[in-house]
Amino acid sequence: MTRPPLPLPPLRRPRSADLTATFAGLPLPRDSNLPPYRRRELTLLVYAGVLATSALAALTLADVGQLSLGVLTIGLGFFCLWAMAHIAVRRFAPAADPVLLPVVVALNGLGLVMIYRLDLARSEAAKQAGKHIPPSAAQVQLVWTLLAMIVFVLVLALVRDHRKLARYAYTAGLAGIVGLMLPIVPGIGTSINGARLWLRVGPFSFQPSEVSKILILIFFAAYLVNKRDVLTYGSPTLLGLKIPHARTLGPLLVAWLASLGILVVQNDLGSSLLFFGMFLVVLYVATERVSWILSGLGLFVAGAVLAYPLFGHVQVRVDGWLHAFDGDNPSSTSYQLVQGLYGFAAGGISGTGLGQGHPQKVPFANTDFIMASLGEELGLTGVMAILTMYALLVLRGMRAALGAKDAFGKLLATGLSFTLGLQVFVQVGGVMRLIPLTGLTLPFVSYGGSSIVANAAIIALLLRVSDSARRAPEPPSDAPLFDPGAVSESPTQVVKTT
């Protein structure tokens, strides 16, 4: 490629600004230093690659007792795969946060090794029982990882300015809701483990709500940027709190109904919780009104009280959580949870070591309960490291939000980071019996294509916001980001579609 580097506005920090501005494009001149952000990212990426390769080496050592060159080849391949993402960041978001991508790669590497480790256990068990050896989940996940990387690059390449996304707010919102509805369409939708939230095409199943999450957030952020003033000001006061007008309560009610709808239609408690939390936080950040949070929580409690007697599914989860070890529960309703806890306990502080525990004893060990698998084999040390990596991811995302110079970017980045954090909390908290168990996946780690693809897109968007945040302010554009006129009638329309 001999295309000239893209014209970039100067960075705020002079030194890095020069380097980044000069060498943002490809190929890099031979006699130059790399831009510090990206050089840091590359260094961290090497760490992440080494981490994944060491994990695979430890596993191989435990499994066959010796190491082969193959381990290094696979590790190198994995690194190269994500190095392409790094090159894309270099090309399309040179000023972006250098920590996000390496953390994602480290998590993804650990997840892949654990999924592969569980494959080994499964094929071993099948061999013992004389059964057909099941197909490798790790291979499928590797394909998904490749796809996720491609989506990551595409998002970075296509969304050159995140503000432009606001223009597609309604399209995104509509697409998101259609995505949520898709699994209930007969013929395409599949029910897996009692929750109807999957699309199945051949051997690949896809959970569209993961993508819908992003699309609906884009809509919501754009909508709120325009409606902020109405929602923030001119509210009657009650007991010192500003109570929103009934009319402006609309979006919140929509969010609430959508969350309940997910629960009703898809029987998915986790996604429902995630959507509602996301709506609430974005609303709060947009309006700076604590009253939204309070009324939102009120609605949540009302919804919970309403839903609890109606949904046997929810009751079973709550009972399995509160009375995990009572009566017959350990062998029936709380079986998975309790087995997962036993896994954590078996791991202790230092863990059994990769390939040396029995994570396969826990049902859904490579999806919902992958944290228990990691907790068993990597121990508390590994769990804390993984949680810290997620916390880092969320914090870096929040930092991008704080730095963003536009309201939409702020809302988008806050929403994305918070959703990521909330998903980890709900997921890991459920598996660790901090809160009732819900069916969510652990971002980047769990086996499951939609999850990793959607989360890769989230990271790409965060990098995009971060990239623009780290650049010097641009002169304000004349064109309105979003046509307010189009929005004023919109809430009713949205209600209709749901």
Binding site: A125, F425, R433
Partner: protein, 481 residues
């Protein structure tokens, strides 16, 4: 909008902090209680997959783990079959017994003393391996004891009187621990079901867990109390043909209505040699139950031996006895109960100049790297009788074997000291046949206690039935290099 965004960030960090605290609580605080939950099958599986340490007797592995091709990586084997099962115990999918149970922490590799090898294992990514438990058992003696006892019910315990080392511990009927170590759940459960419901109690270690009336072997303790009270072996004591028991219409006869001495009195040494009931009954009355009890307790009655890695029953000398009960207790009847191990300790103490050594079964612990981690050093439990009394008792016990009831225990070229016992235990059943003793009398190398329950089905004395067993065990022990 930055203020609320910052707050949201803080909320996120609070959520992560909650997760981190919860992880610590779960994996450190709760781990112990979670591991012992009845529905947690991991512990056993995990251990079955480890290379468990061996249990060794002499140069023979009596329990070992060999690689297996089934779902667990190692199969527990007991190469000695039934010969050592009572000592090794078993290690099944569900439970463990014997040394397998008491030494589990070491055998499984969890012992803190194995920390060093665990740490190296952590870096070489090696599975945790267990340490080796070396027992004090001598295969030749164990073999001889099992052969001599045959399939009669009973028990044999052989001790090194100078150290307290258990040289042989055989109990019959027994079982083959291999049958319980099956990795097939059903096979293991079935085998256990059959053994545990068997009326002959093959899973019971009769040497340590079962108590019997000691019969005339208890006369050693009565004699010890008498000698300690100032009597001499040659003193003449009352030995009527029938002893009228105080405050009772019951009389105490001699075995088979025999006459001791001149029918009125007998020397203490002769009374022991021919196991005269009336003489010892009267002696017991004269000494009083307190003197008998304190002598018995000095030998270890009414308590158990410390640190023995096998389950024990305590030998009992009852309290609050009247005259008749004291007379009966003095000849090892009434409610006196002993374990074969206790009787072996009594004779071992006499053999060891009155010093009682703590019995031990585990002589050494070795790490997976064969390095010695600990070695048992012999320990004195106490001195129940003085050296003089022990010497006098030895002389008296020699006469039992040379000219008394224990002649069948004689070994060519070796002076054997011993005492027979024929313990009544209810009507209509043959009495238990006992023999306790040691050899050589002048420099004891082995002390032994033998009980054949119900005389092995034939009506006979300890001298006829148990003494030959003891002889073979002592011979095997004396032949050992």
């Amino acid at each position: 909008m930055n203020r609320p965004a910052r707050r949201v960030a803080v909320v996120c960090m609070v959520l992560f902090a909650a997760l981190l605290v919860n992880a610590n609580w779960l994996q450190v605080g709760q781990a112990g209680s979670l591991k012992t939950q009845p529905t947690n099958g991991r512990q056993i599986t995990e251990r079955l997959e480890r290379e468990r340490g061996s249990i060794v007797a002499g140069d023979v592995e009596i329990a070992r783990s060999v690689p297996s091709s089934d779902q667990y990586k190692y199969q527990r084997q007991y190469p000695g079959g039934a010969l050592y099962s009572d000592v090794t115990g078993y290690y099944t999918l569900f439970t463990a017994a014997g040394l397998e149970r008491s030494q589990d922490v070491f055998l499984s590799g969890d012992d803190d003393r194995l920390l060093a090898s665990r740490v190296t294992g952590l870096f070489t990514n090696q599975q945790r391996r267990g340490g080796t438990v070396i027992t004090s058992l001598v295969p030749a003696v164990q073999q001889a004891a099992a052969q001599a006892l045959g399939n009669r019910r009973g028990a044999v315990v052989a001790l090194d009187p100078k150290t307290g080392a258990v040289l042989a511990m055989v109990t019959s009927p027994t079982y083959d621990a291999n049958s319980l170590a099956s990795h097939t759940e059903k096979a293991a459960t079935d085998a256990y079901g059959v053994l545990s419901s068997d009326k002959s109690q093959p899973l019971l270690n009769r040497a340590t867990q079962q108590t019997y009336p000691p019969g005339s072997t208890f006369k050693l303790i009565t004699a010890a109390a008498a000698l300690a009270a100032g009597r001499h072996p040659d003193d003449r004591i009352a030995a009527p043909n029938e002893l009228k028991l105080p405050l009772s219409t019951v009389t105490l006869p001699n075995f088979d209505g025999e006459t001791c001495g001149d029918g009125q009195t007998d020397t203490l040494i002769h009374a022991l040699a021919i196991s005269c009931n009336t003489a010892f009954g009267q002696l017991g009355i004269d000494l009083g139950d307190d003197a008998l009890r304190s002598q018995a307790e000095a030998f270890g009655f009414n308590t158990t031996f410390p640190d023995l890695p096998l389950p024990q029953a305590r030998s009992v000398f009852p309290s609050d006895l009247d005259g008749a009960q004291t007379a009966q207790s003095a000849i090892g009847q009434y409610n006196v109960r002993v374990t074969p191990l206790q009787m072996a300790e009594v004779v071992a103490t006499i053999a060891n100049d009155g010093t009682e050594m703590k019995p031990y079964l585990v002589s050494e612990l070795r790490g997976p790297d064969k390095r010695t981690i600990s070695r048992t050093s012999p320990k004195e439990l106490g001195k129940p009788v003085s050296g003089d009394v022990a010497a006098e008792l030895t002389t008296m016990m020699e006469s039992v074997v040379t000219s008394g009831t224990g002649r069948k225990a004689q070994i060519d070229g070796v002076t054997v000291a011993g005492k027979t016992g024929t313990a009544e235990h209810g009507t209509g059943v043959a009495p238990h046949a006992w023999f306790v003793g040691f050899a050589p009398a002048d420099n004891p190398k082995v002390a032994v206690a033998v009980i054949v329950e119900d005389g092995g089905g034939e009506v006979g004395t300890g001298g006829a039935i148990a003494a030959p067993v003891a002889k073979q065990v002592m011979q095997a022990a004396l032949d050992r290099p």
